[in-house]
Symmetry: C2
Subunit: 366 residues, 2 copies
């Protein structure tokens, strides 16, 4: 099958670019001797997880237990759930899943850690745990210093949990622009995590894993003293958010939305068959000046605004020969958001459609 | 089953409120003698479409052909596809679907109308068509006056299409605030559509349907001279966007997200287990001052910011006893966006879960 035979809108994954992106991040990890544990929230697709692991990733990261279940069923054996597991229903599922996959769970509270331990006790199973440090993002995680040490000490003493180290997520790296700011954000993240681990070790608590995250910071954090693992997600595809930050090249953006022009209401306006229910409203319009998308091969077209199922294009004079029925390929602002709204993607190489992949872990909200 | 047995996050539909909202909009339609053809993009759920029709709706509106297919398979027989149908693949599906359901299609270009006619010709089938007027929103549709008349004349002359009238969508009514501005927006919409129909009739073209849309404008547009049909969608649930506009009462918002507190990083901060991948980033934070949600029963809690799977709450002093594991019910900014991200909803009455409904038309992006 070729691209032209796909009806629209269709989410495309360019395999040449994906392979490049996987190899590039793996090379960073290899160069600095850290483990790469990509965040699968970006793709939710077992085939892509297997490609990441085949290239050298140690396993994957997920945010939802349901994603872990889907990935484990698809043969991914080493999974970190970088999310607090709280409800009774989830604890029961986690215990069941621990029988078939090697799990690591992030904890940022004594309550959640104790509940995990209680849930695991009857089975005699043990899973790995990391304590989560807030390195400045202000989301989950405990503050550096005493609070982190107290949590680590508590987790280290719990049956059913094997404390392996510390993780953090520098979401604030998304505020950085350009390599100097990214390097600074990553250095701060890496130093905070390494310092937390060192403090625990000084207190006699073993801490082999120092895991840091985020696509913008990973390339730089990998080289930080003490860091042992990186967890980028969006690097797999890249998107305009990463391009704006300076963390991904536009030409290497691997996920696009194939769309059709369905209306030409004015010479300088066209409407395509995808809106917020595929592109999302995540993030800001790109600083490239083309709104909520980058139309490949048409720098004079801007995806100016979106409603749920319509995308409104503004056409520069040289683009005004665009006709109803014409097809365009658009790089979105946020790839992870698009993946959550499509049941399948087409894996393409050049013009050829090599596979249709089910986004098997999409919809796993719990 | 009771709500307490649902794991989180779970999207809840309050049946008492849904029934109230359905009855209320149907009463408006009945009072002014117009047809109600609700937009099913809001719910994508056949059970809810059947409730709307049982209460008096003439049929439904959809944006995607795939939604029409799912709804027709579920026994909904009168479906308007308020969207240009352009690709060859969709035209073939449309012709097939026309055998099992009474279809109406919106057209806003001679190209799309001619393609429809050509596709229908071999089967000898005829479907209803409406010409789409742009009443000022600047999305799809042709301008008033000559362009609209020219399109109507063209469509009236095509085999396979039976021109029934005109439709328009006053998306700019979303800029209105309060009943006076809504009334003005609706009056402008209704007058523009009625004027277009009158102009066509004066030229000898039959125009029985004058269909106008949008939840904010429908209650007022229903009373406009010449309007025969309203197509609101979000009225079914209501959300903070509609509350801010003044088009829905907060107490009648029927769709909520049941969530659990998973982290308590600071006395005035808590984190819940849903973020943009359920709440979306559609629309603006509510003018109620509680960010991207309204936490039922807790006016002192704001859903301050979101990442993909985390929702960050800011707690007023009186809410700071909130604990990990506590559950909250949150009205979102945009109900239609939430529906696109969940595979199922729980239909609840008070504390009782009456049904789990599959959001059967979710994921029908084509």
């Amino acid at each position: 099958m070729v691209k032209g035979q796909l009806d629209t809108p269709y989410v495309l994954v360019d395999l040449d670019k994906v392979e490049h992106n996987i190899a590039s991040m793996q090379a960073v990890a290899n160069r600095y001797g850290v483990r790469l544990r990509p965040h699968a929230k970006t793709h939710k697709t077992p085939e892509l997880a297997h490609m990441q692991i085949a290239a050298g990733a140690i396993g994957i990261t997920v945010a939802k237990l349901g994603e872990a279940e889907v990935m484990a069923a698809a043969g991914i054996n080493d999974i970190m759930i970088a999310y607090p597991i709280v409800s009774e229903a989830k604890l029961a599922r986690l215990v069941a899943l621990a029988r078939t996959a090697k799990l690591t769970v992030a904890v940022d509270s004594c309550e959640a850690a104790a509940a995990l331990s209680r849930a695991l006790a009857p089975s005699g199973a043990t899973i790995d745990a990391l304590v989560e440090l807030d390195c400045g993002f202000g989301r989950v995680g405990v503050p550096r210093g005493e609070p982190l040490l107290r949590l680590a000490r508590f987790v280290a003493g719990l049956a059913g949990l094997k404390l392996r180290g510390v993780l953090t997520f520098a979401g604030h790296a998304y505020e950085a622009r350009g390599s100097e700011q990214l390097r600074a954000a990553a250095a701060q993240e890496g130093a905070a995590a390494a310092e937390a681990a060192a403090m625990c070790r000084a207190a006699g608590i073993a801490m082999e894993t120092v895991s840091v995250g985020s696509t913008p910071s990973s390339r730089y954090a990998a080289s930080c003293e003490g860091v042992t693992e990186i967890r980028p997600g969006a690097y797999l595809f890249g998107d305009l958010m990463q391009v704006d930050i300076g963390a991904h090249a536009l030409t290497n953006c691997a996920l696009t939305v194939l769309v059709t022009v369905v209306s030409r209401p004015a010479p300088d306006r066209a409407v395509i068959d995808a809106g917020t229910k595929l592109f999302t409203m995540d993030g800001n319009p790109t600083t490239l000046g083309t709104g909520r998308g980058w139309v490949i091969g048409h720098p004079g077209i801007a995806l100016e605004w979106l409603t749920e199922e319509h995308g409104m294009l503004r056409l520069a004079p040289e683009e005004q020969r665009l006709r109803i029925g014409d097809r365009l390929e658009i790089v979105p602002v946020h790839c992870c958001g698009v993946i959550s709204l499509t049941d399948e993607v087409a894996a393409v190489r050049g013009d050829r459609v090599e596979s249709i992949w089910k986004v098997a872990a999409r919809g796993q909200v719990r």
